[in-house]
């Protein structure tokens, strides 16, 4: 993996970056063909924090999120430029395997998407097996730990062989989170993870986010501003592809600097 710092400062630079920022987004542009969906976004994400991306539909927040683990380029005709530096490593470097990036930077989607033909256990262990893990004892341990970390273990521990699809919507979403956690990601991207859930399911996911940030850096896209205010430490407001304002959640929701941010979060447009 290529390190982007000068070689003589490499170790120090990596250490400093790791201490200060887990993810550095530098002049990132996201394109769909010739249409630029996000423009020159710069943003630094601190380790073990929750950062929320908010903004009206079409502002580019999901595109930006998908740029952070190179999912964006899987859309036909889409590409990104700029740098996304995770622990000092530019994930867009030509030498980087996107599959490895997606292992380190997990993702949870808007709608729960368990593998439909797999059991609860297999849903969580699928990624491990695909990555060559064969030790059944270790797999079992990781599955249990992941389900516990996703606050689902107590509800499914006696039904691990049942289909993943047999769970409720909220449980399915936590199953997907467990599946992502099984890969022991350092960063977890969540794209509107509660938009299809009822209030109880949503609140469990929100509680989970607060717990998970002790170990994982979380970036969450949400349309629900109260959710952003509840769960995040930092908030980025985007509008028409631009990052308008980024700051502590308290500052953004109590005293935003930009008039546009104020108007959006106050429900005066969007």
């Amino acid at each position: 993996m290529a390190i982007e710092e000068p070689i003589e400062d490499k170790e120090e630079a990596v250490q400093q970056t790791a201490e200060r920022y887990k993810v550095r987004i530098e002049k990132v542009n996201g394109w769909y063909g010739s249409k630029r969906a996000i423009r020159d976004v710069n943003l630094n994400v601190k380790e073990k924090t929750v950062t929320a991306f908010i903004g009206p539909s079409g502002c580019g927040k999901t595109t930006l999120l998908r740029c952070l683990n190179r999912m964006h380029e899987m859309t036909p005709g889409a590409h990104a430029d700029g740098r996304v530096v995770v622990d000092g490593i530019d994930i867009y470097d030509k030498s980087i395997d996107p599959v490895i990036i997606r292992r380190r930077i997990g993702m949870v989607f808007q709608k729960p998407n368990p593998f439909p033909t797999m059991s609860i256990f297999d849903n969580v262990s699928a990624g491990l097996r695909l990555n060559g893990m064969n030790n059944k004892t270790i797999i079992r341990e990781i599955v249990e730990e992941s389900l516990r970390n996703a606050a689902l273990w107590d509800e499914v521990k006696n039904d691990l062989d049942n289909p993943g699809m047999s769970l409720s919507g909220g449980q399915q979403q936590r199953l997907c989170i467990a599946r992502a956690l099984a890969m022991q990601p350092e960063v977890l991207l969540m794209d509107e993870p509660t938009s299809s859930l009822d209030p109880i399911g949503s609140s469990k996911i929100e509680e989970l986010v607060r717990v998970l940030k002790d170990n994982v850096t979380i970036i969450i896209v949400t349309h629900n501003m109260q959710q952003a205010a509840r769960v995040s430490d930092f908030t980025a407001f985007m509008y028409l592809g631009d990052l308008i304002e980024y700051g502590s959640t308290n500052q953004i929701f109590m005293n935003p600097e930009k008039e546009l941010t104020e108007r959006y979060i106050s429900g005066k447009f969007g």
Partner: protein, 214 residues
């Protein structure tokens, strides 16, 4: 399209302005009663109680707005400040009542020198009115002016306090005059502080920062 929150904000603004105007009237009445020796304690008590109930109404309604609409940024600061200002206005009412009670308890004071009270009352009345209009117009600059006026009020109070102590040693000392003036000056000094707090609230609503003086 009007936000649902805006309807609530308008209602709470109306409530707070009613409180502001009522508190101005009460303090003015109390000072006039002291000056002219007119007993108005029951009427001022009634007004003071009305302010107290209005304050509870503002708090309840503000809580409801927060719970139902989850306001943020300036909207939230406005609601938070209205709750603080409502407390300030209810204190104005309470001090107006205290002033009326001084007259009722140890008054009237036809032969007392009221010049210090009159001087301070003029400034404090101006301060109350300024605090109300600053809230109405969200004038962030009012807080600076209020602080300047508060300094002069504090100065008058401190000087009178010292003077009262030295006067007690004189033969022609009339305790009723000094005690009544001292109490009323003290109430006016407290009103002046609360007017400043209301100025702070306005500053906070507009800028998002607490008053630089705090």
């Amino acid at each position: 399209m009007t936000r649902l929150l805006d309807i609530g904000l308008q209602r709470i603004t109306n409530l707070i302005m009613d409180m502001g105007h009522l508190s101005v009237d009460l303090v003015n009445s109390a000072l006039e009663s002291y000056d002219k020796g007119i007993m108005l304690r029951p009427q001022i008590f009634e007004g003071s109680e009305k302010l107290r109930f209005l304050q509870m109404e503002v708090t309840d309604f503000a809580t409801e707005l927060i719970a139902r609409y989850q306001p943020v940024a300036r909207d939230l600061r406005l609601i938070q400040s209205f709750m603080d200002a409502a407390y300030g206005f209810s204190r104005f009412g309470r001090y107006a009542y205290d002033i009326a009670e001084v007259l009722e308890t140890i008054g009237p004071f036809p032969d007392c020198d009221k010049s210090q009270v009159t001087t301070m009352a003029k400034t404090v009345k101006e301060m109350i009115e300024l605090s109300v209009t600053s809230l109405e117009k969200l004038d962030k600059n009012a807080s600076q002016k209020l602080y300047m006026m508060d300094d002069s009020v504090d100065s008058v109070f401190r000087n009178y306090l010292k003077k009262a102590i030295t006067q007690t040693k004189k033969r022609n000392f009339e305790p009723k005059c000094y005690v009544s003036s001292l109490l009323i000056l003290r109430y006016l000094e407290r009103i002046s502080d609360h007017a400043c707090y209301i100025g702070d609230c306005v500053h906070y609503v507009v800028t998002g920062d607490p008053s630089p003086r705090r």
